[in-house]
Amino acid sequence: MKITEEIKISDNGFVFNSKTGDSFNLNPFGLELIKQIAEDKDFASTRDGILEKYDIDDLTIEKDYYEFYALLKHHQIIAQGDPLDFN
């Protein structure tokens, strides 16, 4: 799922949504992750890259990734799909 067109992300972790007027701060790792999501990188390759670079286990990455992803959806940074589309 893509980052919506209205979202602008600066190099220091500031995020602005021109549609809603909301703005956000990212911590350094949040910025790294959102960039990978913006590049449409899938979870598996994102996870492998993090495992190689950071001192962390795969299950923690998975938990944190999906929590972060859910928050991006909640803040309308990622386009919302139909939540009841179970296909």
């Binding site: 956000f24 950071y54 944190d64």
Partner: protein, 446 residues
Amino acid sequence: MEKLKYEKPVISKITAGVPNKFGLSAKQKIISEIDGIPVSKLMDEYGSPAFIISEKTIRDTYAEAKRAFETRYPKVQFAWSYKTNYLDAVCSIFHDEGSWAEVVSGFELEKALSNGVNGSNIIFNGPEKSEEDLTLAINHNACIHIDHFDELYLLIETTRKLNKKARVAIRVNLDAGIYPIWDRFGFNYENGEAWNAINRIMLAENLEMIGLHTHIGTYIMVASAYAIAATKLSNLYMAIHRKFDHWLKYIDLGGGFASKNTLKGAYMPGSETCPTFDEYAEAISNAIISSEIPHENLPVLFLETGRAMVDDSGYLLTTVIANKRSTLGRRTMVIDAGVNLLFTSFWYNLGVYPSKEVSSHVEESTIYGPLCMNIDVIRDAINFPSSKVGDQLVIERVGAYNMTQWMQFITFRPNVVLIDLEGKTHIIRKKENLDSLQSFEMNPKR
């Protein structure tokens, strides 16, 4: 190549508007040890959750209160409020420091006696005293604080049956500027009920009137209210002398001093706003000393301070069970200690702190207990750093009421551990188990 330190990804919405009332956020407080013992060691040894009580804090707090009053008033006697925390080990510390016992039921009276307190050093308060309780109190020469006329007549009847004298005081309720007035206990000052009760007692053959008692409320944040109460009791004290040529032995101002916990809805933290022992002592001592009581006949000043005396000494160690997000995106956290252990969480914003260095990022969070009940909320809004499952946390200022008002519900009640003055730890109440609970049950055979 050495790997980089990982930090959980975070995105926070920037909210414009009124800035934080305390300005820039302070550094996150961490409680990594209690009286020099690492929290992790305590949890390894005694499990999670676990209540920890610091003997040093109890004794230091007692010394502070004693100094505040004894430097301002010549005759002061503290009585330990059993209902605040009646674990034997805790009561014993207060008795060792010189406190009498203040009890409010037959059960508490028995407990004080079993703790070795001399009956004449027990104050028996409360609205429910059976004939059996009164008999026990009379036989041990306890000071019985009469709550209502029915109790007064039951007491007269009991002393006749026993053919013994009882030492008594009355509880007086009065308007000290604290609203709502606690008028459900004792005899009212303003409408003359207290004076009527005194007159009846002074006529009773077997009752020896020795004191006056009031308890104006709980968590009283205005020290001057005690001055009003002390003045009104001093008036009664002098009225008794004038009419009956009788000097009482004491005036008991009860308890109700605020602890440093923060009440829900309070704008500023309790540690900033609650009066100190010195402020309470100044108000009470000045009122009695400047009353018309001659200095050579000043009564002993009794204080039944519970909450302010023991709250700071208690900690609850707990562990993070889960992190979740609500449907509104709000961060929530589940810990293994619930409201069944923390009765005071219903009216305090209890301080919850990590036990080791954490991420500098904090987020407004809700902290839930482990109970399968919607009311199990320890903090509904707290700025808290990100935590992971298994992180050990410390909840501070839980020494008052939680270990008496707790209930066994869904989970077992945990170990209570005392750290003594030498830094040694002792279990002072064992964690419950299925056997201990079922020992009270009987299942009829069918």
